[in-house]
């Protein structure tokens, strides 16, 4: 056994049959761990994988700044394509330039390059999903997760740092440090729990940050301390995130382990679920709840392996080893037996809808997706209602292809023309009839001249069909609802855009959409909205329904299926929504240690009681933000947050998904700052800003964002730097928050909040709905777009690496980086802009677009041809990668932007470069200047 031989003195390896891996034991101290001792600490590998010690971390940042400055002052003039000799050396440290100062010596260059690729390739925190097993992949950025503290202290001791301070806080000067987009890809600050906090010492005891993360990874013991730091405290949850498989990362996302034996140990008092942070007492007969310290009995069957009918090993139970776990729930957790999945399609068949090709595209997509609609147990039911100024029901006969259409033109008092069970049919049994109907729907209405939409009555009819079982109303609407309940007026008035009155347009125009949403939520009906509009459709009002019924809103402005890009985008997103494995009849409750209180909730759901969120359906990759307040002084060394999602899976099983997160507590303000997760803070701020917009005005939301940034900077200055001295010359911020001001600026400049009289309220409202639902991984690029240069990218970019397609290095978001002969990609996860410089060489245009020269190229939506040359294939691979690397159903459309093309298109693309000065918005440097003036001039002195 090689494991034995490689061990340092004093260690033995013991094979653990239940875990199928070695357990390493230090014979002198009796300490046990799963990781190989050489990989965690001490030993010859120390230099490469040791947790980044403070000085080296500091050096790294400084070195980065140097690299950046070089790039800024153009130390490396980039060579034009196709001469690839001089690509991007100064642009990305570590890629081709001088990587030595950036990381600990001893790590081979190629290894580092692989890390970089891994870090980039996996998008947001793809990389962190594999830690800590894949420790070296983040060796630099992510210090060790679970080394026992004594070892850590040892190491620090060797480095002459002392082992007392667990968190090293570094201050950066914002003014002197250009923002580095790579930092957005880093994992959140490490959670350093006291030793022995988790009973199993499992690396997965804390859930992956993509399930649940906190804005601060250390909890202040008192409310006063939190208040003093001005930091927001909230949880960012995506309990049902999709597992991105091998397509994107070299390592598969581990699925959530499932406890199938229905032995669910819960605390008698606080009702929390057993988790890796409880303690066993009385010889393992009882367990002590980590949230409320209640002593509970261990269930009898807890140590019994029901599958094999023999005593099992308690320590291998997933709920004690994993922070994310799913229990199969017995009947006590059901109000009624799991209901079949019911999809009711409400399709607009008015003139506008048919003409735009929406009906044809939608029916074709449904037809193609029939096999992917979750239907494992053959219980899924489906129904279809078409509507214009009247409602058209379709009665299908199972087993035949016969369909009959029933027209209901009385839309004031909606009734069903036939009993429910003849209109809602089992998908498996009436497959043939459904296919025929979908195939013929377009034909039936193709010559319609009817203008007007009775969306409200159609929703009511759909509700009647689905109300007994619950289900999903998938609504496709191409015009403003004009008839019956829920009729909306065209509120858009160009004169009031950009004025305080604009805010009214972002609130619901008719109370129907709220009251109906409540009815739906009660009956476990969820509404998805797909809106296609040539003109104003009042997204603000219509998106209320998905908002309160936990559905999703999709908006396709100016949809025209004749343009293949539009059709593909919609078909792709619609197909994914139809095929997604949704949860049903869900409730979410977040529990936390005593003294911690959930105070406000953001996201798509209905708040049913002070801390219970009701979700008729749980689509994957939805984000929820929960604000937390501290009500008592915390006395424990760590606190635990537990999210429980009780839901019915789409194959009819009642389950509880439990996500547990333990965070250490502190009374030290510098630890608080050192543990800030800037990604989570930005996610929180986006949600909070949207809430403020809907309750008050756009200006209030902008002021609030600004206030958060100044408050945090001001508090940091007065608490940590003494308010004066050298720091007064710049803007001090913890290094782990360096990107936060830029993210906040991105939010202020975002189409959702920007001060402008040009932004259509529909676009704003849609941006609001995205900001409150996107998971962090997708939200951050939406605020801070990614910017790549293609004409001079390193040769390996666009080829397949260890972690899928290798993306070019990220550039800072400033137009200084745009060159006349260049080809650039700017993408925010919703749109991809391909920027073509005016002096692009014909060869480049030929290779990418198959056109003779720049003049022949036209701006606008575009489908990139795949040509028979390596450059075209690499560009296509990069675009393809951008389209699929993030969570969520979105399929960004590609736009060609010519440097001298139509101004609106150009300005739109340039507005993504958020470090530049905008129309009425400051550049990043100007903004920092404003912040600095504010801090120096105000009471923070």
């Amino acid at each position: 056994m090689s494991q034995q031989n490689d061990l340092p003195p004093g260690w033995i390896a013991q094979w653990d049959p239940t875990h199928q891996r070695h357990l390493f034991i230090e014979t002198t101290s009796g300490h046990q761990q799963w990781e190989h001792p050489l990989e965690t600490a001490g030993g010859p590998l120390d230099a490469t994988v040791a947790p980044a010690p403070a000085p080296s971390g500091h050096g790294k940042r400084r070195a980065y700044a140097v690299g950046q400055t070089h790039a800024y002052d153009g130390a490396g003039e980039v060579a034009p394509y196709p001469d690839a000799a001089g690509y991007g050396a100064p642009v990305q440290p570590g890629m081709g330039g001088a990587p030595a100062p950036l990381f600990t010596p001893g790590l081979a260059n190629d290894q580092f390059a692989a890390q970089q690729q891994a870090a980039q390739g996996q998008g947001y925190y793809g990389g962190s999903e594999q830690y800590p097993a894949q420790q070296p992949a983040y060796g630099q950025q992510q210090p060790m997760q679970y080394p026992p503290v004594n070892q850590l202290a040892d190491q620090f001791g060797h480095m002459g740092l002392g082992g007392q301070k667990p968190f090293a806080l570094h201050t950066a000067n914002l003014v002197a440090t250009p923002p580095n987009p790579l930092e957005l890809l880093m994992p959140p600050p490490e959670i350093r729990l006291p030793p022995g906090a988790s009973i199993t010492d499992s690396p997965a005891a804390n859930a992956d940050p993509s399930y649940m993360r906190s804005t601060i990874n250390v909890v202040p013991t008192t409310y006063q301390l939190l208040n003093k730091s001005k930091l927001p405290f909230s949880l960012v949850l995506t309990p049902h995130r999709t597992l991105k498989s091998a397509v994107n990362s070299s390592v598969d996302d581990p699925p959530v382990p499932v406890v199938t034996d229905t032995v669910i140990a819960r605390c008698r008092r606080c009702r929390s679920y057993i988790n890796p942070y409880v303690t066993f007492i009385d010889g393992g007969q009882r367990w002590k709840c980590c949230l409320c310290s209640m002593s509970n009995e261990v269930p009898q069957m807890f140590d019994w392996d029901q599958a094999r009918n023999q005593p099992g090993d308690r320590w291998s139970r997933p709920e004690l080893t994993s922070g994310a776990v799913e229990f199969v729930a017995p009947t006590e957790y059901m109000v009624r037996p799991p209901q079949p999945l019911v999809y009711v399609f409400l399709i607009d068949v008015s003139h506008a809808a048919v003409q735009s090709g929406m009906v044809a595209t939608a029916t074709r997509t449904i037809l193609e997706s029939l096999d992917r609609i979750p239907n494992d147990d053959n219980r899924t039911r489906i129904s279809l209602i078409a509507f214009d100024t009247a409602l058209y029901f379709f009665s299908l006969t199972p087993g035949s292809t016969e369909t009959s259409m029933l027209v209901v033109s009385d839309i004031d008092d909606v009734f069903l023309p036939k009993p429910n069970d003849q209109l809602v049919l089992n998908l498996t049994e009436s497959r043939a009839a459904v296919e025929t109907l979908l195939g013929r729907l377009q034909e039936m209405f193709q010559d319609t001249q009817i203008i007007g939409s009775a969306l409200g009555p159609a929703l009511q009819a759909g509700f009647q069909l689905a109300s007994t079982t619950g289900g999903k109303l998938i609504t496709l609407s191409a015009s403003l609802p004009t008839l019956g309940v829920g009729a909306l007026k065209n509120r858009e008035d160009p004169k009031i855009l950009g004025t305080p009155k604009e805010s009214a347009l972002l609130q619901a125009g008719s109370p129907f959409y709220k009251t109906f949403a409540i009815e739906c939520s009660r009956a476990q009906v969820s509404v998805d909205m797909f809106l296609f509009a040539a003109t104003y459709t009042d997204v603000a009002s219509l998106s209320c329904l998905p908002h309160y019924t936990s559905g999703q809103t999709f908006f396709y402005p100016g949809f025209n299926a004749a343009r293949s890009e539009d059709a593909i985008k919609f078909a792709h997103e619609f197909g994914i929504v139809l095929g997604s494995q949704i949860g049903l009849e869900a409730v979410i409750r977040v529990r936390a240690s005593r003294g911690i209180h959930m105070s406000a909730f953001h996201g798509n759901f209905f708040v049913r009681s002070t801390d219970l969120l009701a979700l008729p359906a749980v689509p994957p990759d939805q984000n929820y933000v929960i604000e937390i307040s501290l009500e008592e002084t915390l006395t424990t060394p760590f606190v635990v947050f537990q999210t429980a999602v009780l839901h019915t899976t789409c194959f009819g099983e009642r389950r509880i998904r439990v996500i547990t997160l333990a965070l250490p507590t502190t009374s030290n303000i510098s630890e608080l700052y050192a543990s800030v997760d800037q990604i989570a803070v930005a996610t929180f701020l986006a949600n909070k800003a949207v809430e403020r917009t809907q309750a008050n005005k756009l200006e209030d939301a902008r002021d609030m964002v600004q206030k958060y940034v100044t408050d945090i900077l001001g508090a940091y200055k007065s608490n940590m730097t003494g308010g004066g001295g050298a720091a007064a010359a710049g803007l001090a911020i913890p290094t782990n928050m360096q990107m936060f001001p830029l993210l906040a600026l991105g939010l202020l400049k975002h189409v959702a909040l920007r001060q402008s009289s040009q932004i259509a309220p529909d676009l704003r409202a849609y941006a609001h709905s995205l900001l409150t639902t996107l998971p962090s991984q997708t939200l951050i690029p939406y605020l801070h777009p990614s910017f790549y240069s293609l004409h001079d990218m390193p040769p390996e970019c666009g080829t397949i690496g260890d972690a899928g397609v290798i993306l070019p290095p990220l550039l800072p978001l400033t137009s200084e980086r745009l060159v006349k002969h260049g080809l650039f990609v700017i993408e925010d996860g919703q749109t991809i802009f391909l920027w073509v410089g005016r002096d692009s060489v014909p060869q480049l245009i030929m290779d990418v677009f198959n056109l003779p020269n720049y003049e022949a190229l036209r701006g606008g939506k575009y489908t990139l041809p795949i040509l028979d040359n390596p450059f075209s294939q690499r560009v296509n691979a990069i675009i393809g990668k951008i389209r699929e690397m993030r969570r969520g159903p979105y399929y960004p459309a590609l736009f060609i932007v010519k440097e001298d093309g139509e101004p609106p298109m150009r300005l739109w693309a340039l507005s993504a470069l958020i470090q530049d000065r905008g129309d009425q918005t400051p550049s990043y440097q100007q903004w920092l200047g404003q912040l600095k003036d504010k801090l120096n001039g105000s009471s923070y002195n």
Binding site: A600, V607, R608
Partner: protein, 137 residues
């Protein structure tokens, strides 16, 4: 008994009714906080009382106007304006989707109204007694 006495007898009764509704609102809000009632039922229940409450208060003000009770009108004018503004901007109903966010504001409003109605109650009571004594003399 003269008109003034009758007016204040009615005013006392009305103030008592208004006090009762305020208390009812406050109790309902705390029910919501402690989970005895769900937000949908709460809003349906309370919304049924908002218009009658505002109506009763407005009617009382009208009677004061007809009875030329200027002091009373001045006392009640701010609340009347506040209520009328809520009705005009269509902002009076409790919204179940927002209730947890606005709960603090609603509670504060109810407490202030309760205090105001209590004060009014004693003032009307005093005026009623004064009117009745004057009647007797």
């Amino acid at each position: 008994m003269n008109g003034e006495a009758w007016l204040f007898i009615f005013a006392v009764l009305a103030a008592a009714a208004l006090i009762f509704t305020s208390v009812f609102f406050i109790v309902s809000y705390s029910d919501l906080e402690t989970d005895y009632i769900n937000p949908i039922d709460l809003c349906n229940r309370l919304n049924a009382f908002v218009i009658p409450e505002h109506g009763l208060h407005a009617f009382l003000c009208l009677l004061f106007l007809l009875g030329f009770q200027w002091t009373c009108i001045v006392i009640n004018a701010p609340l009347l304006a506040f209520n009328v503004n809520k009705i005009i901007t269509n902002n009076w109903a409790h919204d179940a989707t927002e209730i947890f966010r606005t709960l603090g504001g609603h509670k504060k409003e109810s407490f202030i109204k309760l205090a105001f109605y209590l004060m009014c109650f004693f003032y009307y009571l005093y005026r009623m007694i004064v009117a009745l004594i004057k009647d007797d003399v």
